[in-house]
């Protein structure tokens, strides 16, 4: 069989010509250490400098209560963490290039001024670091794979970056219960591969899986592609270990499915974006890996039909439905433009959907899927479509959905709005936004217009839309045209201004559109209780 394996490699090279893969290696798959290296080398040759967040948001002022990092502090951390690779010191040495990747996000939208990056290897080290920082009033930013979309994981001023990449051990896995216990810095894909060998699945999957850390996923309550099937992390995370700013280690690393013993405090760390503590380990319930997975890709004529297709999928595929994703025609055109790949369908349609089924019995699933496909084709809901016939086609079809974010990033900047809206109005937001920007004369095909396209895609099954405004360059003019218009639009429909990306820096001022005053006040009370000095991830939403 060795020959077959070689051919496999050759086949991949020959048959799937994807420039995107090479780029993806740099941006997503490479572990953080390698990425640091490549990122710094490209950055120096890149003419476009990322704007400092402090310049982009002039109303953000450095909190004078925070101390400045001194050479003594650095010496203390070096002694504390022992290993020379655990400290990137830009205070007493010139480490600009090494620190840059920790200072900015991959979308090139946010950039901080930190001069110190710490990489503790376990909760004890994190505890010592935070205790010291708290006493000295040194602000910190917890950071995982730094794949966030709202600038939550990068510093604004000189906050110390506490990176979780060295906490990367899988602690245990119990096949009977499916509970995985792992350090916060384990890369999502690594965790999933570990589980794959044990016939289980990580209950979260998203485009950045090759570099995001599971601690970061939990801290931001990442949603992803299969939330429809496996639910939110608020349900699948059974326990976690976190460190509070005063150095207290919160050991709530329960592996129990049911545990009704008082307040469920771990929930506070899920989705709070590192503002009350730093997650150092996670225990999570993992489902058995489906043995049979199928994916179909549809072209549809209207959003009305997309909704009908979704209802049909829910009704007919029910328990095997694992993803129902929406992509509009413009988003797919941009992927073609960026990757040069041939589109799976012959004709062009205003909407595309990707439907995935996962089950345990291939024949049963296929029978269900075929009758579903026959009904949606027969009823004229779906205009055209393809069904993946093998694993390669399966992967290729998913890339038409997963590759959108990345494709947009190659074509310039993107204003991203990740919103929950009632299903019937889901796509109206994109149409309204496009009309608004067109009316203001901002959208056009040549370089004189700042906006390239207004696109929409997202997790149809979760009523979660990604409204993306692809721009040639970030500009205040475009931003002012969209915000707060978009938030008002969502508020009117009782939607959420951030379905799964979080608030970070990007949406810090807009929390009021989705949470009332009482809720924000309660959040502040909790924040003050656990982080009285406010050193945890400051200048963000709280």
């Amino acid at each position: 069989m060795s020959g077959a394996r070689n051919i496999t490699a050759a086949l991949r090279r020959a048959r799937v010509p994807r420039p995107s893969l090479a780029i993806r290696t740099v941006q997503f798959i490479t572990p953080l250490t390698a990425r640091t290296f490549s990122a710094s080398s490209t950055r120096t040759s890149d003419s476009r400098q990322i704007k400092f967040t402090s310049d982009a948001y002039p109303n953000l002022k450095r909190n004078p209560n925070f101390a400045e990092i001194s050479a003594d502090d650095v010496a203390h951390f070096k002694e504390l963490l022992g290993s020379p690779s655990a400290v990137i010191d830009g205070v007493t040495t010139d480490a600009t290039d090494d620190i840059e990747p920790f200072n900015s996000d991959w979308m090139r939208k946010y950039r901080g001024h930190t001069r110190l990056v710490l990489k503790p290897k376990d909760a004890q080290e994190v505890s010592k670091v935070l205790k010291y920082c708290n006493e000295r009033k040194l602000a910190v930013v917890p950071q995982g794979g730094n794949t966030g979309l709202v600038g939550g994981s990068v510093p604004v001023f000189d906050e110390i970056v506490i990176n979780t990449s060295r906490m990367n051990q899988i602690r245990s896995f119990d096949a009977a219960s499916g509970v995985l216990v792992a350090d916060a810095g384990v890369i999502l894909e690594t965790a999933d591969q570990y589980l794959a060998e044990r016939e289980h699945l990580f209950p979260l999957d998203l485009g950045a899986k090759g570099s995001c850390h599971i601690g970061g996923n939990v801290s931001t309550n990442a949603g992803g592609l299969r939330l429809l099937r496996y639910g939110s992390l608020h349900g699948s995370v059974l326990g976690l270990e976190a460190v509070l700013p005063d150095g207290t280690i919160v050991d709530a690393l329960s592996t129990l499915r049911k545990n009704n013993t008082g307040y469920d405090l771990k929930q506070l760390f899920i989705g709070s974006e590192g503002t009350i503590g730093l997650v150092t380990a996670v225990s999570i319930q993992c489902p058995p890996r489906p043995k049979a997975v199928n994916v179909a890709y549809f072209g549809l004529e209207s959003f009305e039909q997309v909704q009908q297709a979704y209802l049909a999928a829910k009704g007919q595929l029910s328990e095997i439905l694992s993803a129902f994703e929406l992509m509009d025609g413009r988003s797919q055109k941009l992927v073609i433009e960026s990757t040069g790949n041939k589109h799976p369908l012959e004709g062009e349609y205003p909407f595309y959907c990707l439907v995935e089924t996962s089950g345990s019995n291939a024949e049963h699933d296929m029978a269900k899927l075929e009758s579903f496909l026959e009904s949606v084709m027969g009823d004229g809901i779906v205009a055209d479509g393809v069904l993946a016939q093998d694993e390669t086609q399966f992967q290729a079809l998913w890339r038409w959905r997963e590759g959108i974010t990345e494709s947009l990033s190659h074509l310039g900047g993107t204003y991203k709005y990740d919103v929950s809206i009632p299903l019937s109005d889901l796509y109206l937001l994109v149409e309204d936004c496009k009309a608004l920007l067109t009316e203001k004369g901002l959208v056009g095909d040549d370089d004189s217009f700042p906006v390239r396209a207004v696109v929409g895609y997202g997790h149809m099954g979760d009523s979660n839309l990604h409204l993306n405004v692809a721009v040639r360059q970030y500009s205040k003019e475009v931003e002012k045209a969209i915000e707060p218009w978009v938030y008002e639009w969502i508020q009117k429909r009782q939607g959420s201004i951030s379905a799964e990306h979080g608030l970070g820096v990007a949406k810090r001022e807009f929390i009021g559109y989705s949470q009332n005053e009482t809720m924000v006040k309660l959040m502040k009370q909790l924040k003050n209780l656990y982080d009285p000095n406010g050193i945890m991830n400051p200048y963000k939403y709280i």
Partner: protein, 260 residues
């Protein structure tokens, strides 16, 4: 020449994106519960046959017959072939005896019989199946039929209605262009084309296309084996590299190994 009657033999194999595992008895590869799909080279042959039809060249394509020999799951790949554009299919029922299936010579004899019976004048087949990796069937078939053959085609061009065909195939350091006259045998290679997706309307249509079941005996062929597989083993596992903490660690490691 009246019309092209193309035969495309296809094989159901373990999906090439899946890592094959040796069975416990070390007699072959574990196939139970493993995702199977159409042999990728055969996908290219089907695609090329369909493109010959769509290209509307000097000779009209009259018939595209897909054929597969194997167990009860074979119709799956035949339906895929028909969804991609084959007109009809033969399933040659060969029960799985766990011995890796019939040898290339048996398959070639079987194809020879079908070629005669169905009046085929062009056989397009993958240069090899990725399970057995034998890469012999096309050549043996050409030998049995006494037809010209062109292997590892990266381009197939029908030049005129007299049945002149030009085939380009890749050789070390360049390409070679061959010319032959129909009837002939062509084996396909990776750069020939990019196979299409099976579209939903075509998947539906494929269900109604004729799929005939036959046996080797119907074609007057006996499944005899000349080779016996003694043992199948995995290559020795790759030894993992060591990790160093930092640059100093790397330098001292390199010195230790005498690389510096």
């Amino acid at each position: 020449m009246s019309g092209l009657r193309i035969l495309v033999p296809v094989k159901r194999v373990i999906d090439y994106a899946i890592k094959p595992r040796i069975n416990k008895a070390q007699t072959g590869v574990e196939t139970a519960g493993v995702k199977h799909s159409l042999n990728p080279f055969d996908e290219l042959s089907i695609e090329e046959a369909v493109r010959l039809r769509e290209r509307k060249g000097p000779i009209k394509v009259e018939d595209i017959l897909a054929l597969s020999a194997g167990g009860p799951k074979c119709p799956d790949v035949l339906r895929t072939a028909m969804a991609m554009g084959a007109d009809r299919a033969f399933h040659i029922d060969v029960p799985d005896k766990g011995d890796g299936g019939p040898e290339p010579l048996t398959i070639a004899k079987m194809l020879q019989a079908v070629v005669k019976e169905q009046n085929v004048n062009l056989v397009l087949l993958g240069k090899q199946a990725i399970d057995g990796d034998q890469g012999q069937t096309g050549q043996m078939l050409a030998g049995l039929l006494g037809w010209p053959q062109a292997t590892q085609a990266s381009k197939v061009d029908i030049k005129d209605d007299a049945g002149t065909v030009e085939i380009t195939h890749e050789v070390d350091g360049g390409v070679e262009t061959l010319r032959a006259k129909l009837p002939m045998v062509i084996t396909t290679d990776l750069r020939l084309n990019e196979p299409r997706y099976a579209s939903l309307p075509n998947i539906m249509k494929a269900k109604k296309k004729p799929l005939e079941k036959k046996t080797l005996a119907d074609l007057g062929v006996e499944d005899t084996r000349r080779l016996k597989t003694l043992k199948v083993t995995e290559p020795p596992p790759r030894k993992g590299g060591g990790k160093v903490e930092d640059v100093d660690g790397l330098v001292s490691k390199l010195k230790e190994l005498g690389a510096l």
